[in-house]
């Protein structure tokens, strides 16, 4: 089933009776060429690019819940390429290019919206840092414009520019930054993978791994044993548990990150706005809800919910930046499980077990990486070689101290990012 404007029109006139399920619900086979553990954004995009770029179609995605039930269906949907460090820059730049062609590639409306992102700054030192970051973005081939206070005012007239503690000096505009519809990204990749023959096995939780003499043979699941020559672990916040089944400890601690949505409002915030000094960022969904969040709660958690201190802090920061949102009613909040690495950057690498690969450590920034992460992880699983855009995301960089990717410049130990 191919989506098109003509098809929408035809179905609308004939009672919408012709739509079919977006993917099959197959029974697990006894053996696949490759298994992806985790049916989130990264796992689905990995399966899609394995099939599309590498012709591997005898593969399965194992999802313990349903497609889209994890962080891919619960995030703040921001897409951007404004990284500074070599190693990160080329990867996120690649990801943004994939985002920009994603709807055509998937034949699926992921509602990608390059509406522009503005990072605010509040001191001369911060302006210098953002000017430098903007130059790094331009050198990478992406776009960045340094705005002074009046430049920001033209875009965001509703901010409190005279904030006593953090007066607004200007902002770094990343015009191609924006948002996408998170569920549709999962559905689009799932459909795209399924159409190429990938089995999406839902309600299929991995309970153990079969490893013989240092070589992976398959996995034990709630739907039986499944053999495979290659297994990829792509389970975000649950990386620690799945890696433990393979006898590994990871440089990861899972933390909770909260986010919030208000009732639907008329269009009022046209950009993605970040207020780093207040630990606050916001955008408005196409449905009208203000979608915003802040920092981690800063303690280990799998509870999928946070505590009041961080919620209060985020609301206070929002009110100091843009008092106009004070009367909006909060509709819901949630907490996602974040796989935090010591340096705040991800891992896409082989493991010490032959045939076992891992893609994890996305911290609180995994959504924008969904296309490029799957692209690079599929390349690694299919060819055994790191993709050129993701060669810095090594698992051993903490042990060796070589290639630490500390984008924030806050250190490379746990609880610093």
């Amino acid at each position: 089933m191919k989506f098109s404007g003509l098809r929408v029109l035809k179905e609308g006139l004939t009672g919408n009776k012709g739509w079919t399920p977006h993917w099959r619900d197959p029974e697990p086979k006894a053996e696949y060429d490759a298994i992806i553990i985790g049916g989130g954004g990264h796992g689905l995009s990995t399966a899609y690019y394995l099939a599309k770029n590498h012709g591997m179609t005898n593969i399965a995605v194992l999802e313990k819940g349903y497609i889209g039930s994890g962080n891919i269906g619960r995030n703040t949907t921001i897409v951007r390429a404004n990284y500074f460090l070599p190693g990160n820059s080329e990867f996120y730049s690649h990801s943004l290019k994939l985002w920009e062609g994603l709807e055509e590639d998937l034949n699926y409306n992921v509602m990608h919206s390059g509406r522009g992102m503005i990072n605010l700054f509040h001191s001369d030192g911060q302006r210098d840092a953002f000017a430098r970051r903007g130059n790094a973005m331009i050198n990478q081939g992406d776009d960045a414009i340094l705005l002074d206070r009046e430049g920001v005012r033209k875009h965001l007239p509703y901010l409190d520019f005279e904030n006593t503690r953090f007066p607004i000096y200007g902002g770094l505009l990343h015009p191609r930054g924006g948002t996408a519809r998170h569920d549709a990204v999962a559905w689009g990749y799932a459909r795209g993978a399924d159409r190429r023959g990938v089995d999406l096995l839902q309600n299929c939780e991995v309970m153990g791994s079969d490893i013989e003499n240092g070589v992976v043979r398959g996995v034990q699941t709630t739907r039986g044993a499944i053999r495979a020559k290659k297994v990829g672990i792509v389970v975000a916040g649950r990386s620690g548990q799945v890696a433990a089944m393979a006898g590994m400890r990871l440089p990861i601690e899972s933390h909770v990150l909260q986010a919030f949505v208000t009732e639907g409002l008329k269009p009022c915030i046209d950009h993605v706005v970040t207020y780093g000094m207040g630990h606050f960022y916001i955008s408005q969904s196409d449905k009208g809800g203000l979608v915003f969040g802040g920092d981690l709660d800063f303690y280990a958690s799998y509870a999928s919910r946070g505590n009041l201190p961080t919620a209060e802090h985020v609301m206070e920061a929002g009110m100091t930046l843009m008092p106009m949102i004070g009367k909006a009613k909060l509709l819901r909040s949630w907490g996602g499980i974040m796989d935090m690495t010591p340096d705040g950057s991800p891992i896409i690498d082989k493991t010490d077990t032959e045939g076992l690969f891992i893609d994890c450590g996305w911290c609180y920034g995994g959504f924008k990486a969904v296309p490029a992460s799957g692209y690079a992880f599929a390349h690694l699983m299919a060819t055994g070689q790191h993709h050129e855009t993701a060669s810095a995301f090594r698992l051993d960089r903490f042990r060796t101290g070589r290639g630490i990717l500390d984008e924030e410049g806050t250190g490379s130990q746990h609880n610093l990012h």
Binding site: R238, S239, G240, Q241, A244, R249, L250, P251, I252, E253, S254, F298, Y299, A300, S301, Y302, A303, N307, P309, P342, F398, R399, Q413, H414, N415
Partner: protein
């Protein structure tokens, strides 16, 4: 979330700083090999369930605390002074 500090009593989470896994009490010997230091500084069991953590009563008495807490429910099972835990182990 509240923690019951052995010195100050039950206090709000805002008063405490979370340091991380209580592995920090098990510092390797200075001449330990690289794997031991990697395990100490970077690698974590990261369990979904009960684990031991180090918290600092930063806005209270300043004590370092060993907290047994369930990461799946946020339930706190016990709080002890880190100095007592360390001394009990000798």
């Amino acid at each position: 979330m509240r923690l019951t500090c052995p010195i100050c009593g039950a206090r709000d989470r805002r008063e405490f700083y979370y340091q991380g896994d209580a592995i920090a009490l098990d510092r390797p010997a200075p001449d330990a090999d690289a794997a031991a230091w990697d395990g100490y500084v970077h690698l974590r069991d990261n369990p979904a369930g009960v684990r031991r953590e180090l918290w600092h009563h930063e806005a209270g008495c300043g004590s370092w605390l060993v907290v047994e807490r369930d990461t799946s429910t946020h339930e706190v099972h016990s709080v002890a002074l880190a100095v007592d835990v360390a001394e009990a182990r000798g």
